[in-house]
Amino acid sequence: MVIEADGVVTRFGRQTVHDGLSLQIRRGELVALIGGSGSGKSVLLREILGLQRPTAGSVRLLGTDMWRAPPAQLAATRKRFGMMFQEGALFSSLDVAGNVATPLREHTDTPAELLPRLVNLRLALAGLGADAGAKMPAQLSGGMKKRAALARALALEPEVLFLDEPTSGLDPITARAFDELLAFLNCDLGLTVLMVTHDLDTLLSIARRVVVLGRGKVIADGSIDEVLAVDDAWIKSYFSSRHTVQPPPAAAGA
């Protein structure tokens, strides 16, 4: 198991976000996490990443309990996953190349003269030219920011990739290109991908497994067809927000 959430309870004051939520994700899966606003998708993601402490229950990422493991084990685990934040969260004081180089500098002994080449490889993987490296985050368009953030998330060749709304705010063409990129990373490079998304097109085209959060729990989990078969008002209205829901391509079943 790459990700294991067991009996997670999260409360903010009186509000209960997760109420005994459990979720397992295996190596090589591409999972989309959906749910209404306030259903705790992003909170769950933050708990898996070790940014937020669940009120109760445990979260294990790559076998490491992100809240109980000793610092050395945490540091070792942090090298093995990458996270792409919604607005990119690029370090505003560093240029794009500096951003991508930061994880390499902090977690590896890469010689300084090799860094630019590694950085360019990551940029190319995320679909950015080498010329983007010299730009500051403030100079980038929304799509380029996301690509730069993806390049940074991929810097250490992680086993697991987390994405928070990877296609939000992108035009449909860029968004579909992003989907293809994620599918490539998942299928060809074998990354386990967990993303929070609202984008139906992303779900239908690349997500092989969809997890729906609601009422503090997982209310549906499986392929699009399996999720559609669940009798839940939110799921019904979510998928009927688009008129033509087509089944996912046959190639996606594995």
Binding site: R46, G50, R78, K79, F85, Q86, E87, G88
Partner: protein, 209 residues
């Protein structure tokens, strides 16, 4: 440092006012020359550190809060933490160090500008030429008061920077919160500086300095 012009201007004007006020009193007793003593003591020990720290609480303290608050909002701080870095180490420490190192230098700038202001005023209204002013200054300017003024600076800086960073990191995830926290930083910073200055005054008094 972009703060030099504003620090120099404000302390220069304070020097002008101080010389004028002290001159009005001292002239009655024909003791205009002692204006130099008053300015040298007041400026280096009290006014320059206090005024420079107040300016920096408004400038740097507010800037730290706004910077870190925005970084919180854009999830930059979360990104730092997911990379296994400590925001306190990469964001707070450099800012605290920078202010602790630069504030004493700015207080020096303030001392020079303040005394220059007083010198200008003295030569214009008190019939005290610059040369006489400087001669008296060399006698009146005691290293003790000067050092006390400079020593206060890093302490003020530490509090201003820590308040600014702490308020920045405690910004919640909405834009309004940045404004509220920035305001709070400036108020807390200025109050802290004045309180610390009072503590310094009492403690130094007890120590007989």
């Amino acid at each position: 440092m972009n703060a030099i012009p504003v620090v120099a201007l404000v302390t220069f004007l304070i020097g002008v006012v101080m010389a004028y006020m002290l001159g009005l009193q001292a002239e009655k007793y024909g003791a205009s020359i002692f204006v130099v003593d008053g300015v040298a003591l007041g400026m280096t020990r009290e006014f320059s550190p206090l005024i420079v720290a107040t300016i920096m609480a408004g400038r740097s303290g507010a800037a730290f809060t706004a910077q870190l608050g925005t970084m919180k909002l854009t999830e930059e701080i979360d990104a730092i933490r997911t990379l296994g870095l400590d925001p306190a180490q990469v964001l707070v420490l450099p800012r605290v160090l920078a202010l602790v190192l630069t504030l004493p230098l700015l207080v020096f700038v303030g001392n020079v500008a303040g005394i220059a202001g007083a010198m200008l005023m003295a030569s214009l209204t008190l019939d005290l030429p610059a040369q006489a002013f400087i001669e008296r200054l060399l006698v009146a300017l005691s290293p003790r008061h000067y050092v006390i003024g400079i020593v206060k600076a890093p302490v003020f800086a530490l509090f201003i920077a820590v308040i600014g960073c702490r308020m920045g990191l405690s910004v919640s995830r909405d834009t309004r919160s940045i404004g509220i926290h920035t305001t709070s930083t400036v108020v807390q910073g200025i109050v802290a500086v004045i309180l610390l200055d009072a503590v310094f005054a009492v403690v130094l008094q007890k120590l007989g300095l």
